[in-house]
């Protein structure tokens, strides 16, 4: 009896690993494309290869990294680069807050580990999946770890390609992230309020970008979208 349950536990473990891989797999080709593009850009901008890879491992946030290496190349003050990264990544504070109710089963150090591997994609995947399924810790962390490893691995590939003068412009790398976000976004839109939120946030992005909000744009436009959704929900009631 004991042994049977133990071996079925082991089977469940592998099934959860497979599920975790399944959840992240569609976005991996985007991680490879952007990770490589980042690696190429970094070495082209004179960042030592090992530091480019270290940034992927530690910062693990595409936009902040792409902006960061370009600012480093311009020899801008370190403090301004760090502040810029904080502003670009401020949206993750809101995302992590939204995930809190769905990660109650994790211990505090597991939640902290989760936070180190939080990205736009894993947020969108998990916020859609966790409320509907009781995903195991194994599944959740498999998704996160595979994403992180592929990101760092693609950076290493990009660093190598970049040094041997590769040109990745011919591919659709400049659209990869947008395609991924559209694919994550559309299935989440289920009612009229959410259509309104999507249009509102899109319009706010254009508006605040035009007004010069720069790296603040996404955070502000997101909050505008939340306000629209919250008001529409109250009004609909």
């Amino acid at each position: 009896m004991n042994q049977a349950s133990k071996s079925s536990g082991k089977l469940n473990g592998w099934r959860d690993v497979a599920r975790g891989v399944g959840v992240i797999s569609p976005v991996l080709m985007v991680y490879v494309a952007i990770g490589m593009a980042y690696g190429v850009l970094a070495v082209d901008n004179g960042i030592p290869p090992w530091l480019a890879v270290l940034m992927s491992a530690l910062v693990y946030a595409g936009t902040a990294q792409l902006v960061g290496v370009q600012m480093i190349a311009l020899s801008l003050p370190a403090l301004s680069i760090i502040v810029t990264a904080a502003v670009i990544n401020a949206r993750f504070f809101v995302m992590a807050s939204a995930l809190v109710p769905h990660l109650r089963q994790l211990k505090w150090w597991e939640r902290t580990l989760y936070a180190t591997q939080l990205t736009d994609a894993t947020f969108a995947l998990h916020i859609a999946r966790l409320p509907k399924t009781n995903a195991s810790k194994t599944e959740i962390f498999t998704t996160n770890i595979v994403g992180h490893f592929v990101w760092v691995g693609s950076t290493i590939a990009g660093v190598v390609v970049g040094q041997t003068a590769g040109n990745l412009d011919a591919f659709a790398i400049d659209f990869a992230m947008a395609a991924m976000f559209i694919g994550l976004l559309v299935p989440l839109i289920r009612d009229r309020v959410q259509v309104l939120v999507a249009i509102g946030a899109a319009a706010a992005t254009i508006g605040f970008q035009a007004m010069g909000a720069s790296f603040w744009t996404i955070l502000i436009a997101t909050l505008v979208g939340l306000l629209i959704g919250w008001s529409a929900d109250r009004w609909a009631k």
Binding site: D174, F175, T205
Partner: protein
């Protein structure tokens, strides 16, 4: 910029990023969020993803730009269609990137 300065910059970037990502999960932990906040956060995925799509497509080199010659602007439409019809992330990404690659090949 010297190697040590770059290293310190990267460590600083990762410290602030980790602080931002971990603070809510480490501090709020098991506490319940106020209903107003939870009601607002319900719309977060749609709001943030929609904003980022627009920014990725319409902001080039830090400036708002909209050009009919820009294939990534046109690519939004088949990608949206693929997403709405299939609701499959893999297919959506493949259609979107495929469209851009094919148009660039054809247009030279």
């Amino acid at each position: 910029m010297g190697e040590v300065t770059i290293l310190l910059t990267i460590l600083g970037m990762s410290a602030v990023t980790l602080l931002i990502k971990a603070a809510p999960l480490a501090i709020l932990g098991n506490r319940k969020l106020p209903r107003v906040v939870e009601g607002g956060l319900k719309h977060l995925p749609v709001a943030v993803l929609s904003g980022m799509v627009v920014q990725l497509v319409m902001v080039k080199n830090g400036a708002l730009s909209f050009s009919i010659d820009d294939v990534t602007v046109w690519a939004v439409f088949p990608t949206l269609a693929a997403a709405a019809l299939t609701r499959n992330l893999f297919v959506t990404i493949a259609v979107g990137m495929g469209f851009v690659v094919v148009v660039r090949l054809v247009a030279g």
